[in-house]
């Protein structure tokens, strides 16, 4: 096994892992403010990609204008989802909420299938298709965009949670919802915010991967599951732990496919998921009662 092959596996893994991380963070933001796993998270990834496609192809917008529009629309869908499906629930037990998110994901997927059909679509890359050579391995310019945008979003996320009032309020909800409510934080509004932020994150992830992996009405399922894995490895933190979880997952998958056998690629990530849930349910990096935001 030569060095350039290993480097290629590593770089491919980092690029895929960055996506998993971005989706995973969407999971953990909602988990921390509501205590539920939003299984519709993957659908926002799909919406981002397909909406960007519609804005470029149907409305003929340039890519730089189509992307914010797509993010705005899918964020709106996220907010509506919270208002119409999550908030009206009379008895919001976790199991009810989880089932609602599953139902919501099926609904969004079904509607998308009717709008965009069953075909796969490709979005044009942000900056050309000439591969970039890094020490014997090659990556696409899009990979660099993915890693860059992921890092940028995570820094913004960190800043928001630690240096703004609403971010701090959301952290308060994550620590203790009842206490947060007692000191005058509108918990329900924070839940709405969490849906807005995570659907925006999901749609960004969907848009930046679409040029590489292409997109269709059903891509949300697998990407959502992988993002969920990343979040679990990171112990449902919305910070660096989930990023590390995503990267670890991406690299292990890529190394596994390259060095062992490509047949085991998905098995690897789900075995990791099970092992973590069995032995370290607080996440790979977490202390048993860790800071979650």
């Amino acid at each position: 096994m030569q060095f350039d092959q290993l480097l290629q596996f590593f770089l491919s893994g980092v690029a895929t892992g960055a996506i998993y991380a971005l989706i995973g963070i969407g999971f953990s933001i909602i988990y921390n403010s509501t205590g539920i796993i939003n299984f519709a998270q993957g659908e926002f990834v799909m919406l981002g990609g397909l909406l960007a496609l519609s804005f470029t192809e149907l409305l003929k917008l340039p890519l730089w204008a189509a992307i914010p529009c797509a993010i705005a629309v899918s964020t709106l869908v996220g907010a509506l989802f919270e208002r119409l499906a999550i908030r009206p629930l009379r008895r919001p037990t976790p199991i009810n909420l989880v089932i609602i998110t599953i139902g919501g994901s099926i609904l969004i997927r079904g509607i998308s299938m009717l709008i965009w059909g069953k075909d796969t679509h490709a979005l044009p890359p942000f900056s050309g298709e000439e591969p970039v050579i890094i020490g014997g391995a090659t990556v696409m310019p899009q990979h660099i965009w993915i890693v860059g945008i992921t890092l940028l979003l995570i820094s913004i996320n960190k800043f928001y949670f630690f240096h703004t009032i609403s971010g701090k309020a959301m952290r308060a909800c994550a620590y203790n919802r009842r206490a947060a409510g007692l000191v005058g934080i509108d918990v329900r509004r924070m839940v709405l915010f969490s849906f807005i932020i995570s659907s925006a994150f999901g749609s960004v992830a969907g848009i930046i991967v679409a040029p590489l992996t292409m997109t269709a009405y059903d891509v949300g399922v697998m990407l959502g599951l992988k993002g969920f894995c990343a979040a679990i490895i990171g112990g449902m933190s919305s910070g660096m732990a989930t990023v590390a979880g995503g990267l670890l997952l991406g690299i292990l998958e890529s190394m596994g496919a390259g060095l062992i056998s490509s047949g085991y690629k998905d098995a690897i990530s789900f075995i990791i998921l099970l092992l973590i849930l069995f032995f370290r349910p607080q996440g790979l990096f977490g202390k048993s009662e860790s800071e979650r935001v």
């Binding site: 096994m1 030569q2 092959q5 290629q8 596996f9 491919s12 690029a15 895929t16 069953k118 075909d119 796969t120 679509h121 490709a122 298709e129 591969p131 090659t138 990556v139 696409m140 991967v209 590489l212 992996t213 292409m214 269709a216 891509v219 399922v221 697998m222 990407l223 998958e253 890529s254 190394m255 496919a257 390259g258 056998s261 490509s262 047949g263 690629k265 998905d266």
Partner: protein
């Protein structure tokens, strides 16, 4: 307007004179297609085409004065549903023949029903097991994978490229292709130097391709349906792989070129003739059927007619041929189907016999290369 008026008068007259007898003259043909679900890319064009052809036959006055009626059901790609619907077609709708189902799994499940109820079944799926061994009541129109593999291997043999890497998708289509690629390699003096798979929902194949780049094969054969192969093409271009790439007939549609973009350039694949209908030499016996089908489909559905629709086109036309030769009962249609000789359809030239219910030869496939985002026939 005038034509419409005439038509109404004709209809009125027909109703007046023939009454009940007119309605019972209709020959009912059943159809089972996976119009929704994962195999919708097969079922949808198949259903559209079957309806289009039957409407056309009726508009031209039917066959020997008899109108056709299509009773089409959606199986959603589900074998259990397909079996129930097949029984329904036979018992309730009293059809004389069944077209479909769209996938091999469903076809295998429906075969016992057709055999038991003695109703001819013309499957639109590719699996070799459907007609091998030949079953009395079962025919098929889709080309066998075997033929596609032979087409690629004979080209490789011609170019003295003997070391190949295979990369197949881990679903039914890929598994069948992989089996055939491995089974026939020795016959053409080809060694498979690496054997990788990818998942139907995978988003990155660089790991597999990096490995393949390491073993330095003479050619890479990728077997899958969209979108996987488009990703393989893009990833291969990213990694700077210069090895010639062959794909399966599973991606012989413009969609593949659209998805893979520049990365599709130079890729070769075996394909039915329908995608290059206009490039065929004028003495090609299939040319007339192909052009008619492509033009018709374009007119009715504003989309390019593809192979999958072609399988249904062939099935309806084969039944039409049988009825033209005087058959009206299931038994008669079956016997006449078996008598089909040199029928130039979309999938190829069909000649059925007692032992061969697949009916196609190696000439059903041609090898095409993608150049300037279009297909070019390799001779």
């Amino acid at each position: 307007m005038k034509a419409k008026k005439n038509y109404i008068i004709f209809l009125f007259a027909a109703l007046l004179f023939s009454g009940e007898a007119f309605a019972s003259q209709k020959i009912r043909i059943g159809a089972l297609f996976a119009v929704t679900g994962p195999a919708a890319f097969l079922g949808e064009p198949e259903r559209n085409t079957a309806q289009m052809v039957i409407d056309e036959i009726n508009r031209n006055g039917g066959i020997r004065g008899q109108q056709f009626e299509l009773v089409a059901y959606d199986t959603a790609g589900d074998a259990t549903k397909a079996v129930n619907l097949a029984t329904k077609l036979v018992k309730d709708d009293k059809v004389v023949a069944i077209i479909g189902p769209s996938t091999t799994g469903e076809s295998m499940a429906v075969i016992p029903v057709a055999e038991r109820e003695k109703i001819p079944l013309i499957s639109c799926s590719a699996g070799i097991k459907i007609t091998d061994p030949a079953k009395k009541w079962v025919f098929k129109t889709a080309q066998n994978d075997t033929l596609a593999v032979e087409k690629i291997y004979s080209q490789l043999k011609k170019q003295k490229q003997t070391k190949v890497s295979i990369l197949t998708v881990s679903d039914g289509f890929g598994a069948s292709g992989r089996e055939q690629l491995k089974a026939q390699a020795a016959k053409f003096g080809i060694t498979i130097v690496s054997d990788d798979t990818y998942g139907p929902k995978d988003t990155d194949m660089t790991s597999q391709l990096t490995r393949i780049r390491g073993v330095k094969p003479d050619a890479l054969i990728c077997w899958g349906t969209n979108p996987g192969p488009a990703l393989v093409a893009k990833n291969a271009r990213q990694l700077g792989i210069k090895t010639p790439i062959y794909m399966s007939h599973g991606v012989s549609s413009k969609k593949f070129i659209e998805l893979a973009g520049d990365a599709a350039e130079g890729i070769r694949l075996p394909s039915g003739k329908v995608i290059v209908a206009d490039q065929l030499p004028s003495n090609d016996p299939q040319k007339k059927s192909l052009l008619a089908f492509v033009k018709d489909y374009q007119k009715h559905y504003r989309a390019e007619g593809d192979h999958f629709g072609g399988h249904a086109w062939d099935a309806v036309m084969l039944i039409k041929g049988a009825v033209e030769r005087g058959a009206t009962t299931p038994e008669g249609i079956r016997d006449q189907l078996e008598q089909t000789r040199q029928f130039h359809g979309i999938g190829g030239t069909f000649t059925y016999s007692q032992q061969d219910h697949a009916g196609l030869g190696r000439d059903a496939f041609i090898l095409v290369e993608i150049r300037n985002r279009d297909w070019v026939i390799i001779r």
